[in-house]
Amino acid sequence: MQINISKHEGAVRMSLQGRFDFNAHREFRGSYDAVINDAEVREVEVDLGGVDYLDSSALGMLLLLKERAAAAHKTVALSNCRGMVAQVLEVANFNKLFNIK
């Protein structure tokens, strides 16, 4: 899975491309670690528009991100959720945890 990071005005967007599954663990963690430690950042937006596959491991990774972000007083939002991604998030009722744009 590829991750592109762009930053503007205290918000960081992590744009994910490809399969978001167990194998993406290191990549994802590595990407957000830097973001979490950045004091200027207040919101982390995870752009899932380019993700074609999302499983429960990915949901777990999002939960971890939320936890780390909350500890650093940052918010997490999910954006561009389509197709399978939107479906999986809906069944898991993740809208109760995340701001889904």
């Binding site: 167990f22 499983d55 429960s56 491991s57 949901l59 777990g60 990774m61 939960l63 971890l64 936890e67 069944v91 898991a92 009722n93 993740f94 109760k96 945890l97």
Partner: protein, 572 residues
């Protein structure tokens, strides 16, 4: 680098042999000589050289044959063979390498080149031997892992006890994607004979996922057996996962309580596919989409364990499955799909549905394995007011001890806050269960105390009208009102005591309950219960009377004493 090698020199020409021996010895190595291919083969096995210098043209057996035979010998050590070919004979060269030679030298042999090649071969030999060592180590790890896997399987089987799943009303199947399944199915009955069913799907699959679901079974079985409500169990399961598992690990689950006696189903779905209730004609009468976050994410207080309640008089089947089922792919990568699952079930009569679906899944997969754990469970449902089968006291083998009267008394007062929160009946009966000779009677006592408690709470304190339940749409209304009034209750309490007594030489359990309400018209309730059912045993006060020796209401009906005979239990 300055290893002393044993080199096997193979040549039929004397001058070549002498030359080669001199070269090899000058390099600081030892020599063994063979004059033909056969000798080479024999000496190779007898002397175990580290390297072979092999001529091509020889009597008895030529160099190609000898090389190929030597290379074919069993043994883990790699021994390089350098072919000695006549000048610029490409065919010899190619044939040599084909036969298994690792390199070649053209005659006349050049000492410098020979030395360089020997050193190169030594380097490769060292690499080969490291590789062989690593392979051995890998094999050892593999054996160890295999043994651990077997033990894991053994433990898993014991922990995820399947006895409750042997229920006559259930069909279930799990197809794990790997050795260990992250999906779990469990079933057990409460002392009141309510069937609890759970289908759980942990993050990921394999051993780490299976480890996530293991704690669930203990909680599910022990709380069900004690008679806790589905909501209490769901709450505790969430708490357990949340506190035991690392963040990011959660368990999607559907929990169901089926009360055949009252014709009521409770369903809680957090993160699994829609649960379905299908009637005899294949129509979906009711379905329950995932409305909650999976277990293990929210903390107690944030988490909502309340199931949806559905009352239904007609028979049908409840179907639960994990997402592995609808996502199962065929050879072309097409998913089975939820619609297809529903159509498959609806296409045949109820008794054939489960097998028909298994067949369809098998065909869809085309003999391959699904990439995710697949699990499914089907529960037959039919309202049966006489479903008190489990309420017969069952004597444990070899025990008819009765204990002495006056030996114990248990009293509890439950205040307003506790009434709203606690699963009172199982908590109290848990105490009784500790008394050995009481265990045989737990089931009927549970039913009696539950009914008394429900009457005291619903009628005595909340002033609900149970007649509402039998009207069309009345059941949901009743449940809503009950929920509202319980939340609003600001002053109410229930007292309960259980005591073993002896009357007329008979051992009896005296059950006493009193609520702080104004009382209810118990005789009127009794009449309605009889009028409403062909079998009066199913409900309320009539049920209590059928299980006990004597029922006596006092005062305005807010106080009741029930005498239950401990005189003998039916053999189990």
């Amino acid at each position: 680098m300055h290893e002393r090698l044993k080199v096997l020199v193979v040549d039929d020409a004397e001058e070549n042999v002498t030359l080669l021996c001199r070269f090899v010895e000058r390099m600081g190595h030892d020599v063994v000589v063979a004059r033909d291919g056969q000798q080479a083969l024999d000496l190779f096995q007898a002397e175990a050289p580290d390297m072979v210098l092999m001529d091509v043209m020889m009597p008895v057996m030529n160099g190609f044959e000898a090389t190929s035979r030597i290379k074919a010998l069993p043994g883990r050590r790699w021994v390089p063979v350098i072919m000695l070919t006549a000048l610029a004979q490409d065919t010899d060269l190619a044939a040599g390498l084909e036969a298994g030679a690792d390199d070649y030298l053209t005659k006349p042999i050049n000492m410098v080149v020979l030395q360089a090649k020997v050193k190169a071969m030594q380097r490769i030999a060292r690499l080969q031997s490291r590789l062989a060592e690593q392979n051995e180590e890998l094999a050892r790890y593999h054996d160890q892992a295999e043994e651990e896997r077997l033990i894991g399987c053994h433990i898993m089987e014991r922990i995820t006890a399947t006895r409750g799943l042997d229920d006559a009303l259930l069909r279930y199947r799990i197809f794990p994607a790997a050795q260990f399944s992250g999906d779990l199915v469990a079933a057990a009955r409460t002392p009141g004979n309510v069937l609890h069913v759970m289908l759980a799907d942990a993050t990921g699959h394999g051993l780490s996922a299976a480890l996530n679901v293991m704690p669930l079974t203990q909680v599910f079985y022990s709380m069900t057996e004690k008679g806790f409500s589905l909501a209490s169990i769901t709450d505790e399961l969430n708490h357990k996962i949340k506190s035991m598992m690392p963040s990011g690990r959660f368990v999607a689950a559907t929990l169901v309580a089926v009360n055949a006696r009252e014709g009521v189903m409770e369903v809680w779905n957090g993160g699994t596919p829609e649960a379905l209730f299908m009637d005899a004609d294949g129509r979906i009468v009711r379905s329950w989409k995932s409305k909650h976050l999976p277990l293990g994410i929210l903390s107690k207080g944030e988490f909502d364990p309340q199931p949806e309640v559905f009352q239904h008089d007609q028979p049908g089947q409840l179907f639960l499955c994990s997402d592995g089922l609808s996502e199962a792919e065929d050879v072309q990568g097409q998913q089975l799909g939820q619609d297809s699952v529903v159509r498959t079930l609806a296409a045949v009569p109820p008794q054939s549905r489960f097998d028909h679906l298994l067949q369809a899944l098998h065909e869809h997969l085309g003999g391959r394995q699904a990439h995710d754990d697949v699990s499914m469970i089907m529960v037959d449902f039919a309202k049966d007011p006489a479903d008190v089968a489990a309420a017969q006291a069952v004597a444990p083998v070899g025990s008819l001890s009765r204990g002495k009267p006056g030996e114990w008394r248990f009293h509890a007062s439950i205040g307003t806050d506790q009434l709203k929160q606690l699963d009172v009946v199982p908590l109290m009966l848990n105490v009784i269960e500790q008394i050995e000779h009481m265990r045989a009677h737990i089931s009927p006592i549970f039913l009696i105390v539950s009914e008394l408690y429900t009457n005291a709470l619903d009628h005595g304190l909340l002033h609900l009208d149970s007649g509402m339940k039998s009207e069309p749409g009345g059941f949901d209304q009743y449940m809503e009102q009950r929920h509202e009034r319980l939340q609003e209750l600001d002053d109410g309490s229930i007292e309960l005591s259980l005591e073993q007594v002896e009357i007329g030489g008979q051992p009896l359990l005296r059950i006493w309950m009193k609520d702080s309400g104004a009382g209810f018209d118990h005789s009127a309730v009794m009449q309605r219960d009889i009028a409403g059912n062909r079998q009066a045993y199913g409900r309320g006060v009539a049920l209590i009377r059928s299980l006990s020796q004597q029922v006596e209401y006092r005062g305005s009906g807010n106080e009741v004493t029930v005498l239950y005979s401990l005189a003998g239990a039916k053999p189990g």
